[in-house]
Amino acid sequence: MMKKVSFELIIPGIIVACIGLLIAKLVSGIYFFYVCYAILQMIALAAAWNILGGYTGYVNFGIGGFFAAGAYTSIVLLKYYEVNFLVAILAAGTVSGILGLLIGYLSIRVRGIYFSISTIAVSTILQMVVLNTPFLGGAKGFKIIRPPAFPPFSNYIEFLFLLILLISFFAVAVSRLIEKSWIGRSFLAIKDSEQAAETSGVATLKLKILATVVSCALMGIAGAPYPYFITLLEPYSAMGLTLGTYAFAAVFVGGRGCWFGPIIGAVLLGGLQQSVTVMISSEWNILVVGLVIIAFVLLAPNGVVGLLKGRKKPVLLKKKDRV
């Protein structure tokens, strides 16, 4: 297991880091890094969402809440306690993971839409808590001044870029590890039929909680560098539904239950989003993303990956059974 982890995580991680450093050295435009950051963050969130939503079939709409929980944890630690960035990232993951545990326990009793709505509930309650806590910035939020750049980076955004690159790599690698192991197979069993899985000896409860905790913790980790990226962290934009919507839309565009689906989806959707926002306006951007989601759900339920793999014929019910 350790050997596998080192092969799947550490060595490719070092390679990704080197590539990231190289890009940071070669490219000089700041805007490029902003776009890349947004897309990489979407990849990280999408991969994290995919672990719960794609593999086990529990739709989490509260992505913004878990993401912001990570962002707030990291900024509080960095601002008030001046800890190391790495510590802040780990703490962000822990806090969101604990919140994920809560959601996991909810999933014992409810599934389907009830689960989805309760994730929105948890996320909104978090937003209310932040709004009403002056310690967390309240409605005003935190204004953050980026620290000066340090070598080898010529701008702080390059450092953030490298950080989110590694985080998104980590998220994708974790989801790949899960997918390729017995855990991933159990998740699929849960998705298809929870009762059947339970009967055949899959510990559904433990695994569901594992999925929610890992998924939410990764969202929190993805949120940790966000305050420095956005420089104004306030509850409405950070915890709104928008950020999360793009993340799960990316999964639907790319392909659910497949580790590289989120990457394809996030790159396509992120690119589309950036170009529409720049060329037309941000309202049209929401419209376009909405249309893309609907088109993919209706026409290509398994996303781009499904299209590439060739269309599996959907199982049609006989006409008389259709209601």
Binding site: V59, I113, A121, M128, G240, V292, V297
Partner: protein, 291 residues
Amino acid sequence: MIDVILNTIVSGILIGGFYAACAIGLSISFGMLRIPNIAHPGFIIAGGFLTYYFNKTFGLDPLLAGLLIIPIFFAFGFLLYRGYNRFFESKRDEREGQMSALVLFFGVLMIIEALLSVTFGVDFRTVTTPWSSIVLHFGSVGICLRMAVPFLCSVLMVCILYLYFSKTYLGLVIQAVAQDSMAATLIGSDPRFAKSIAFGISFSTAAYAGTLFVCLVPVEPSLGMQFLGRVFSIAILGGLGSPLGTAVAGLIVGITESLTTAYIGSSWTLAVSFILLLIIIAVKPTGLFRR
């Protein structure tokens, strides 16, 4: 002291009735038809904007304008269900379908919000009527007509729907289809038609709830997303599919919110319905009034 409590409770009841009007359509579409229409609040806001439009351009009374947009929404809902059934529902199995449908309607919600922002702009819109600033006094309790009229309309709406579903033939057929559509086919009803009608009704209630919304408070396109949780918690609290249950649940949420605003702070109001929702989901997911 007692006056404050009394006034708070009265305004909670008034607002709660309006909440019931918002949630009842969802109770029909989600509770009876198993369609997780999370775009419902979006359609409410769209109804509000249409009412605003009719009021501004033709000078119609908003309550009358609301009656005019009901047929539009009914037809739209009817056709939307046809399309949904044709291209989506009949092609997926139930569990997989529900998850995709959630995301599908989320896309619809986004589109409505974007279209509204593009056509009407992101400003708050409201209508003013001759009666909207009148306040009636009963002893120490003041009742603002701006809140009382939507409340009365909501009560009327709930009563009509209750009578429709329990007394008319088509209403009973819809209920039968909701319980077991296969069995309903055996007694000679057409489930697809019945469901289309029910979805149309659900949309009509959204339209009129939107009218009441715009009479009550100013509306703005992104309110749909904010209203999502409240509408869902009321529908679930009321035991999906029961008009009277929804009304009671609306009152409970309204009164609780009103008390929260008065005694804890208005910034916590939005959390009330969600906390109630989490409690009800953890304790009794079938709601208070599931038959």
